[in-house]
Every structure is written in structure tokens, then in C-alpha cells.
């Protein structure tokens, strides 16, 4: 779509800039705050320009954490979050691909029922089923473990549905040609279907990784042992200190660090998206 109206250009740029400003300003303030010493944030006025304590603050956070404030090192929490987010993202993708593959390519009794059952679970996010889920996880003794953090979140109706829709667009003749070429179902899945779904998988991975990374309520419930705290939970714990001012400069540094992995994932995977979009196969 090409329109030659200068004032429209000016207007759209203005809107875009305003949008960027609104989104970026809080991040900037967070960053600025993470470079100041503790007392300059207590003065009541938020500084707008970076201070001189950048390395000091980040080193403190990464090295010892807020041990003084009763928290574990940030590095460890980041590690926990990373494991949890990866398990959730990879697990969701694997499970939904297998489910969609079964539903699209195999004829079995109650196939439609199965599909609708999966679909109905869309209406049951963790928040709704949190008590029974907690009960199950607790009785399986999965509290305070990576499995406990990720498994209850791993089934995904949305991803199953997306893969189903994608598989339905793959011409039936492709499956038939593969059958004649002597490829069994698994070989067809690995040699043909998965390579064709590459870009879908990349897109979903980004979304699901961020979804996993940002989990708050569930990790808060199932982790009581500090060594399994995730970063999002950790930040909240840092705020809840008794009888003291929260160490805002360190909390902000932690927040900056917590933002890093999702941003990296987006940047890395973006390459694959765009490549996939340009080379759209016929």
C-alpha cells in the first residue's frame, strides 16, 4: 500500500513516536534507577539520567543478591526461570505438535470428541483450576521441583489448534506422496511436516517462552524452597521486606536483568521469522 500524502506521513510518525515514548520511558527510568546508589532514589525525585553505580549495582545483584534483604542471588533465579520457561515452551510445542498430528492424520474413534475436549480446555487456564492442580502436584510430590513448575502449564490447546490449522493447509497429496515413497507416519512427521512448520514453531517458541518466563502465580505457589525461586517471584520477594526500605536500585537492576532473556529470544528468533516470511514456500 503506497499513499502519497505528506501530512499522513507526519501524523503516522507522530503517533508511532508517541507510542515508542510511552513504552520506552518506564524502561528507561528502570535502567536509570539501576545505575544510582540507594540513597539518591530515596530523595523522592526519580533521576532521569544514569548515575555512576552501574557496575557496582549489577555486580552486587549477580554476585550476592540481596542476601542482606533475605533473598537468593539473581543468577540462580534467572537460571530457574530459564529452565522453567524452556521446559514450558519446548514441552508445549512438542505436545501440541504430537496432538495435532494425531488429530489431523489419523482416523480413530472419537477423533472429533478428542479435538473438542482439547479445545474446551482453553476455558480452563491455570488460574481457574489452581486449587485442584496444586493438590495433584502436591500429592505427586512435585512441589519445589522444575517438573512441578512446568508440567502443569505444559498442555496447550492454543498451540494444538494452531498446528492443527497449519497441518490442514498442507496438501493431502504430500502425505500420499510420502506414503508412496515409503515414509511411515513418524518419518513423514520428521522429514516433511516439521521442516514445513519451522516458522510456525519459531513464532510459537517466542510467544511461549515469554509466557513461561513471565509466570508469576503458579511459581509463587509451588516454590517454598528459595533455591527454586524464579526471577519474577524473586522480584516480588525483594519488595516485601520487613521494617526496611526496599533496595530500589538493586530491584531495578534485577528487573533489567529479568527483561534480558525474553528480549534476546525475540531478537534471535526474529531472524527466523523474517527469513521464513520472505522465503514463503509454495
Amino acid at each position: 500500500m503506497i499513499e502519497r500524502r505528506p501530512w499522513l506521513n507526519v501524523l503516522s510518525h507522530f503517533v508511532l513516536c508517541a507510542g515508542v515514548l510511552v513504552t520506552a520511558l518506564p524502561i528507561w527510568i528502570t535502567f536509570v534507577a539501576s545505575t544510582h546508589p540507594a540513597d539518591s532514589l530515596m530523595s523522592g525525585r526519580a533521576p532521569l539520567w544514569p548515575g555512576a553505580h552501574l557496575f557496582e549495582n549489577y555486580a552486587t545483584v549477580l554476585d550476592s543478591g540481596l542476601r542482606a534483604a533475605g533473598s537468593v542471588p539473581v543468577g540462580m533465579m534467572m537460571w530457574n526461570s530459564l529452565i522453567m520457561a524452556l521446559m514450558i515452551a519446548v514441552g508445549k510445542i512438542v505436545i501440541s505438535i504430537i496432538a495435532a498430528f494425531g488429530i489431523v492424520y489419523f482416523r480413530f474413534p472419537l477423533r472429533r470428541t478428542c479435538f473438542w475436549l482439547i479445545f474446551v480446555t482453553l476455558m480452563l487456564p491455570v488460574e481457574v483450576r489452581i486449587l485442584p492442580t496444586f493438590g495433584v502436584v502436591a500429592s505427586l510430590e512435585m512441589l519445589n521441583s522444575y517438573w512441578g513448575l512446568s508440567v502443569p502449564l505444559i498442555a496447550s490447546a492454543t498451540a494444538t489448534f494452531l498446528f492443527r490449522q497449519f497441518f490442514l493447509t498442507v496438501p493431502e497429496e504430500l502425505a500420499e506422496a510420502a506414503r508412496i515413497d515409503g515414509a511411515g507416519p513418524l518419518k513423514f512427521l520428521f522429514d516433511i511436516l516439521l521442516p514445513l512448520s519451522r516458522t510456525n514453531i519459531a513464532a510459537l517458541f517466542v510467544i511461549l517462552f515469554i509466557f513461561g518466563w513471565n509466570q508469576y502465580l503458579w511459581p509463587l505457589l509451588v516454590t517454598t524452597d528459595e533455591s527454586f525461586y524464579t526471577i519474577v517471584v524473586g522480584i516480588q520477594r525483594m519488595l516485601a521486606v520487613d521494617d526496611a526500605e526496599p533496595a530500589w536500585h538493586l530491584i531495578m537492576a534485577t528487573t533489567m536483568l529479568a527483561m534480558l532473556p525474553p528480549v534476546l529470544v525475540v531478537i534471535c528468533m526474529q531472524r527466523l521469522f523474517i527469513k521464513g516470511l520472505i522465503e514463503q514456500e509454495k
Binding site: P171, E173, L174, E176, A177, A178, R179, I180, D181, G182, A183, K187, D191, I192, P195, L196, R198, E279, E281, K282
Partner: protein, 361 residues
Amino acid sequence: MAGLTFSGVRKTYPNGVRAVHGIDASVGDGELIVIVGPSGCGKSTLLRMVAGLEAISEGEIRIGERRVNELEPADRNIAMVFQNYALYPHMSVFDNMAYGLRNRRTPRNEIARRVAAAAKTLQLEDLLARRPGQLSGGQRQRVAMGRAIVREPDVFLFDEPLSNLDARLRVQMRLEIRRLQQSLGTTSLYVTHDQVEAMTLADRLIVMNGGVAEQIGRPLDVYRHPATAFVAGFIGSPAMNFLPATVAATGSGVIISGTGHTLTAAVTACEPQRPVLVGLRPEHLLPASEDSAALKVAVDLVEALGADTLAHGILPGDGAGPALTVRLEGSRRVDVGDTVPLTVSPDHVHLFDPGNGNRLV
């Protein structure tokens, strides 16, 4: 190399659609059989049963001596070329051709040899590294052929392989397929609804209609002696004219109903006054002088094709007479409104039963 035998093959789809109602046929070793018929007559269904992509509801299909009803497609030693080619979009041309061989654990150097040979035959040598998305329609078609050839199958199956190509390329690929099939000597089944393709390619034709084989025979035999009115109308272009008529009381010909025209024909086998359906091919109607004319057609539409001119008109009579199409030489001038006197040799008058459409000898 092997022949192919159908005995009493039927297909009923799970939803109750009966697509094929009993086909008996045998295909000789190295023969190219074209299955032709209108849309929905069960051509693809029949082919897919040979391929093993559809279960055979009843009857038996043998490839060579082997009953294949229960075999997986990969074990039937067939190769299929699909209408949309069904090339693997993410694989190179080489890998597309090699995939089936790899799955059969063919040794590497053997794969390389076969793919190279096929690529040479099909002029794909420079394209082996490309992906299907980077090829033209004709080239994709060739890759699909190549994928079939490298398997060195007992039977080739083609399901309307040329229908996605433009007219010129279709003619060219038709010749190529014929040449290739003859040099390889591989038994082939070829589905099409294009009757020119059917006539030019086939050793023998199977003309299907509504799930049954109306006629099986060599193209020219089918053209000259169509077994039913359906076959007569389907094979030949422009299509045969059909005129309702009755056998003359004198037993020497037929009287076209409602027009009074009489045609000399071999009607000795039919009782007088019997109603019949007369079939006349447009190319067998010859211009004649006024007094020797058997038919006079009032032209109401003219299509000048260059080499030929098609004149469409009606046979005047009481009320609107039956429609008639005539193929005339391109050099002959005809105008709308003309009346063209025509004759037809008795050999070229086909008679069919108006009830069941069967040929009356």
C-alpha cells in the same frame, strides 16, 4: 515390469458414495492405458486403489502375479505423478527424487546414478540444487516425472499430470511422456478428462462413466465403433450430433424425427418403425449438391478456426428441429442464414438404442 489386472473392482466410500461399480480389465506389460471420462466418474478413485491410497472395497487388483489389495503403497512398486505434483517444498530437486530411494535404503552411489540418469533424460541437470518453489510449472512437472522414474517401478500412475500447464506446454509434455514411457517400456495408467490427450497417448482407452467402464479398446476403434452413445459423444471433438429417428418401413434407412430427412444406413438388424438415436460426427457430414443432399442444415452460428470452419445450425422441420454441428473446410465460406446441403456415408451413420444408449449393429 509387469501387467496389471482388475477383477470385479468396486469402491464404496465410507460415506456411502459408490464411486466404482465393478471394473474388469487387464493391462498388458508395457502398455499405456488412458482412463478417460467426465468429472466425478471415478477415474481418480480407480487409480488411487491401484496406488494403495484407497482401500479396495470389493474385487482384486493384481500387479503382475501379485495380489496387491493388502499391500502398503510403498510395497506395491508403483510410482505416482500427482496433478499438483506434490513435490516436497523444502527439499531440493535432487532430494525430492532421492527421498523414496533413501527410504528403501538404496546405496548412495546407486541413488546418485539413478537421479543423474533421470535428470539427464528430463533436462533437469542444472536444476538439481533448486527447490520446487524456484521452478516453473513445466520444470516442476518434470521433477515429478523424475521422482517417478528413479524408482524404476512396475507401474506408473498419472492423475491428470498435465492439467496445470498451459496449452502449448501440455502438448509438448504429452509427447515427452509418451516418448519416455515407450523408451522405458513401463506399464502405465494415465487419468485425464481431456479426450485429445486420451486419443494421442493411449495404447488403449478405458472410457468411464458413472463408475463403470463403458468401453475398453484402442483409441481408433473406440472412435470408429463407440459401444454406447455416451462414448460416442465423449470421444471426438467437436462432439457427435445425436438425432432422434425411426427405422424406415422399407428397411433401407432411418427417418429423422420431425424433419422428414431420410438417411441411408445399415439397419437390417432392426425391425421397421423402431425408434433409434442416430449419431453423426461433424467431420463426417460432407457438403453435397442440392439434389443429392440427405440433410439440409440452416446455419445459425459459424466458428471459423482457420483450418476448419464449424457451422452450427438446425435441421428445419415442423417446429424447431434438432441441432446439428458440421465441420467444413476452412476455405469454404458459410454465413449465418445459409442452408448447407449435406450427405453422409452409410458407414458413418451410428445407431444407438434411445433407451439404454447401446450401439445397434
